[in-house]
Subunit: 206 residues, 2 copies
Amino acid sequence: MSDSVPDIVIGRLPLYLRALARLEQDGVPITSSHELGAQLGISSAQIRKDLSHFGEFGKQGTGYQVPYLREQLARILCVDRDWTVAVIGAGHLGRALAGYKGFGPRGFHVDVIFDNDPDIIGTQIGGLVVKPGESMVEELRARRIEIAMIAVPAAAAQSVTDRVVAGGVRAILNYAPIRLVVPDYVHVQDIDPVIHLQHMTYYLRT
Amino acid sequence: MSDSVPDIVIGRLPLYLRALARLEQDGVPITSSHELGAQLGISSAQIRKDLSHFGEFGKQGTGYQVPYLREQLARILCVDRDWTVAVIGAGHLGRALAGYKGFGPRGFHVDVIFDNDPDIIGTQIGGLVVKPGESMVEELRARRIEIAMIAVPAAAAQSVTDRVVAGGVRAILNYAPIRLVVPDYVHVQDIDPVIHLQHMTYYLRT
DNA sequence: TAGATTGTTAATCGATTAACAATC
DNA sequence: TAGATTGTTAATCGATTAACAATC
């Protein structure tokens, strides 16, 4: 039932959760692996297989209770609680992240934002006062923050990373276009829009 | 040598390209599949296998000429030219995208930005005047834009998608947290930070 | 030459899919 | 009951890795 679930399976669970949240919002009480699969472009067999790593959540002949399965997935992903996150870098991107409306409803709250620019430190962004980079380690520790979003230029990203790790962060969403070096226990996910664009331009040759 | 290269291989090429651009900037003239692999956390065998889909780019005993391999990958990915892109939505995120310094050096140029809010239409963002959504189809056609970045709320994303497709767009970078429905010939890549965060929170249970 | 690294083949590994008994 | 859908096993498919001849 669970001796280390493949990471590729874990990576699909948030997609299932997102689809279920939407179904629940639409007032759909019950769904099936076929319906979910059609919505996500994934085979029904794969959805059932993925879920089977964690237990049995459906009923033969009927399908899945939407709220129940959503709850269970949230529990499995550890998002049946709220998380506070830090934003590092208060440029365009950092500001967009600090002001993004999509985090709160899904359980993530930007609690603090840092920058090094004296002209930016002390200014307000979406209700938060920008703090100086020097205070990062102590602030992160004091707030027990475990998740950071890094939105600084590539040249600064590794040194910033070292400091958020020193501050106790164990998960990093990295927007800088470089590969970060971190201890084994720290998780990193990268978002580089150019990587995605270049993936698509391959197919744009006519 | 090439009867339809797996998409998973195509997805890695931009990472190779990024690493090579960095090596070139650092003045490194020659590299090897081992060095590249170490830098990317990928096996050297995989890099050689991936490249072999497109031809022979190295020399036994020596490795790869960095500038040459970079050029070849750029050509394969069709980024040996510049691309103009449109940003749809001039909220926090749209503004961050329009102002992002990381696009230009890698061959992508935001040429136009749209919004529906009368208070925002006509204002300037990074040298661009925000255009009204109604003009989207004709503007995209007039500019022959083939790539759009969608940065509107989930509720508006599908209708906006229908219009960029009507405007001739063939590749969409979608920041809205929903699955877009598009014709077969249109490519979509999704960026939803919450999906990445939830992927990591799974591992944050202690 | 001796050492290194490519490109490629074959072996391995793991993920996806098909199929179906169980059962609601 | 008849129809539907789950959870799971076995088969298939595809991707990764190991190994090595070729050769710089």
